[in-house]
């Protein structure tokens, strides 16, 4: 089959690789009809996540048709399914309490040591996201082996286009959980750092949950415009002093909740961010966290900090004092996708949530390498890239 494979920093290629096959009885094989490039994939592309190996197939946002099923799969051939990016067994303690992204069994035993060492506990497996999280081949491919297919994939009705439901795999539930973690109350003002796909869905979710005001922060005009279109007020952090603006825009109290939808590769020229850029480049493993630091300083005492943005290592000069003295609550994590898919599918069907407004490009899978490059370098206009294995390459110009 054809698949997008990782070969090194800023080097991904569409190669011909082995077709996957059923290995365990709960597996299914999905023929991918749509798959997307995520901000999380950029962390792999930029080489800041360890344990990605040359030849690994990337991609964790995908959907398609069931073409093969193991004897214990509950799926049927021909069904259209969206597959959560978190691989969860359904039977362990964490799956049972719906903390699916902490599944104890999906990451093969022999791959658990690295994250156990780094984080104190091993991580669950994710599709197409380094060997630390299992080394499972991902969805930017023609076919994918989906383990525990009786637990994860959600069957979607035929009348909903791929574009409408694809993001149930990750960014829609991620934006939703980010807003849920912010514990939004009706009169709240909520600030969201980052107007990428995750930030945009977090903004939309916060508004649906009844926030009285959502303030979106980024520096790309087009992304800020999308946020505004959703009903947010916006701040361009290159032009405005964010902390001062937030104090003013929340009547001097400070925002009630903050959401960091930026993650470990935050942009900006704050001194500590530049130092962190250098450290990250020379492999000292410091995460760039200037958006998060700013968020912690901006949130009101007793406020909530929600962190959907991905971090992998350590960070310096973390405002620990502000966290303690202001009595903040922090919630974070890889999304418990399976917890949200049914509810969110309903909200897509009844029109509560719009999922297509952020798609800027649809490319054939064959063109995926260009998709990565542009999604990284032209973020303003390339908001979200959807790849279609079946689509023809455009004629050369």
């Amino acid at each position: 089959m054809r698949a997008l494979t990782w070969h090194g920093t800023h080097d991904v290629r569409v190669d011909t690789v082995d077709d996957p096959e059923i290995i365990n009885s709960r597996d299914a094989i999905i023929e991918v009809t749509s798959t997307a490039i995520c901000g999380s994939d950029l962390h792999l592309y930029d080489g800041v996540i360890p344990s990605v190996l040359p030849g690994d197939v990337l991609g964790h946002e995908f959907m398609g048709r069931v073409v093969e099923t193991g004897s214990d799969s509950t799926l049927k051939k021909g069904q259209r399914v969206v597959v959560p990016f978190t691989i969860s067994c359904g039977g362990c303690f964490h799956c049972q309490i719906q903390q699916f992204s902490a599944c104890e069994n999906s990451n093969p035993a022999e791959k658990q040591d690295m994250s156990a060492k780094l984080y104190g506990h091993s991580m669950a497996a994710l599709f197409g996201y380094s060997h630390m999280t299992g080394g499972y081949w991902g969805g930017q491919a023609e076919y994918v082996r989906v383990p525990y297919s009786d637990v994860g994939p959600i069957v979607v009705p035929d009348h909903l286009d791929d574009d409408k439901v694809l993001f149930l795999s990750d960014i829609l539930p991620t934006g939703w959980m980010a807003a849920e973690n912010a514990e939004i109350q009706p009169d709240d003002t909520v600030a969201v750092w980052g107007c990428g796909p995750v930030g945009l869905f977090a903004i939309q979710s916060a508004i649906v949950m009844g926030a009285s005001k959502v303030i979106a922060i980024d520096h790309y005009p087009n992304r800020l415009a999308l946020a505004k279109q959703l009903g947010a007020e916006v701040i361009d952090f290159r032009k405005t002093n964010v902390r001062e603006a937030l104090i003013e825009m929340s009547g001097g109290i400070g925002v009630d909740a903050v959401i960091d939808a930026v993650g470990m590769e935050t942009h900006g020229f704050a001194v500590d961010n530049l130092v962190d850029v250098v450290k990250q480049k020379v492999g000292m493993g410091a995460d760039r966290a200037s958006a998060l630091k700013q968020a912690i300083l901006a949130v009101r005492p007793g406020g909530r900090v929600s962190i959907p943005g991905v971090y992998g290592g350590m960070t310096d000069k973390f405002p620990l004092g502000a966290l303690m003295e202001k009595g903040l609550q922090i919630r974070s994590g890889q999304t418990h996708v399976q917890r949200y898919t049914n509810d969110l599918l309903e909200k897509i069907e009844d029109g509560t949530l719009d999922t297509t407004f952020l798609i800027s490009h649809r490319l054939p899978l064959e063109d995926a390498a260009r998709g990565y490059e542009c999604f990284r370098t032209e973020q303003d206009s390339w908001t979200k890239v959807v790849l279609k294995p079946g689509m023809d390459m455009p004629a050369a110009n």
């Binding site: 096959e21 303690f93 497996a125 060997h131």
Partner: protein
């Protein structure tokens, strides 16, 4: 049994998996309260009071105690999750563990069950005629509420030829501690999900298959 002494040694340690125990185990156990009187398991001590390699691990498995005990008590089941144990067969009152060693060889350890408390605890040790002295126990205790069962595995072994055996084993990346921890995780996975997790995409790429290939 193996012909090459050196490889045999490595293989023995390498393949120990969960089959390890030790000469001075009893002495070790009697000493275990000596150093401190906190409530932590003795194998979490910062400085061990014995030369023996001892390891202990606990996992919580969302299955009833009786079911887990029964599965383990049927020793023939263990190779399903113990990666380096090829087979365990009964021979009178004893069991013969056939353990994979490097270069396609195997090593055998003869064990007896020295303690068996229905639904709670199973302990075994190697007997005369084994290449290595080993000892192990597994304990099953109810976890709070509906969390299932806490399964604790404690093993001890006398590294053959002092550190040499362990060094060789390390070379083959089959450190008994690591192997045992992984095996215990696989036991948990098998019980909770009915299968062993693998990120292979083809059958010939699973660890089990690759290992089979290496041996032939």
């Amino acid at each position: 049994m193996t012909n090459d002494k050196q490889l045999g040694l490595a293989g023995t340690v390498a393949g120990l998996g969960l089959a390890i125990g030790g000469l001075a185990f009893g002495a070790f156990l009697s000493q275990r309260r000596k150093g401190g009187d906190d409530d932590a398991p003795f194998y979490t001590r910062k400085s061990p009071d014995s030369d023996n390699a001892v390891l202990g691990r606990t996992v919580t498995i969302r299955k009833p105690r009786a079911e887990l005990y029964a599965f383990w008590r049927d020793f023939g089941n263990l190779p399903r999750f113990m990666e380096n144990v090829e087979t365990i067969r009964k021979e009178g009152d004893h069991r013969i563990w056939v353990i994979k060693a490097p270069a396609g060889q195997t090593v055998e350890i003869k064990t007896e069950v020295c303690e068996d408390v229905e639904g709670k605890r199973i302990a075994w040790r190697s007997v005369e005629g084994s290449d290595i002295e080993t000892r192990g126990s597994v304990e099953f205790a109810d976890a709070p509420g509906d969390r299932g069962t806490r399964v604790s595995l404690v093993m001890s072994y006398n590294p053959p030829a002092g550190n040499l055996g362990r060094t060789i084993a390390k070379l083959f990346q089959r450190e008994p501690e690591v192997q045992a921890r992984h095996d215990l995780k696989r036991f948990k996975g098998l019980m909770e999900t009915g299968e062993i997790a693998t990120s292979a995409h083809r059958k010939e790429n699973t660890r089990a298959a690759r290992q089979r290939e290496k041996e032939t």
